[in-house]
Symmetry: C2
Subunit: 119 residues, 2 copies
């Protein structure tokens, strides 16, 4: 039980597309990630996923449109919805999702990180 | 599926200690609340509760100590832990908690809001 400052936590890592866990509650994890460029198209069959933009800009590509997100915006990708996060100039995001969520969803590729670390 | 801007949502209400729902996912609700002054001591028997400070300052009083929280800080109150949020100069916070969580926990008093509204 301590204050968790997002900016302090973000200073602790620099690699992109590799979420770090900062808190756990009710079977859910709170993560921070740095994003730059384009991720992979994927969906999570059983989990809704929340993105909160801490800094920078994120374009959430959906199959039928794009949603532009900036610092202070929050976005929920419902389960089953294919999405491809794209951060042309970089972004830091907070993620909130169930413990079992893999960040690449049903897709297994070189971006998939299996052992996400606490910071 | 749309961008949810926290500042825009906060402009939509002004009353304190009355959380508004802004998103739902995985059986959890994301809420915004404006706080000023002292709340009531309470605990949630079965739910962990996340506070993220959007603006202002919040002092989280626990039975054995106080934790000072400022904008950009996140704090998790584990289930069963008595707490009393205190915002001497006002604060806006984001809450993340299971759908069934009552904001006054086991305590029923004049502060208890039964029908929390979506904004």
């Amino acid at each position: 039980m301590e204050a968790i400052n997002l900016a302090d936590k973000l200073e602790q890592f620099s690699d992109t597309w590799s979420p770090r866990i900062i808190a756990a509650l009710n079977g859910q994890l709170v993560k921070l990630a740095k994003l730059e460029g384009e991720f992979v198209w994927h969906a999570h069959a059983d989990e809704d996923e929340l993105f909160y933009i801490v800094e920078g800009e994120l374009i959430m590509r959906l199959r039928d449109r794009e949603v532009s997100l900036k610092a202070g915006d929050l976005f929920v990708v419902p389960r089953g919805v294919e999405h491809c996060p794209y951060a042309p100039t970089g972004a830091s995001v907070l993620l909130f999702e169930p413990e079992q969520t893999r960040h690449t969803g049903e897709v297994e590729n070189e971006r998939t990180v299996h052992d996400q670390a606490w910071i």
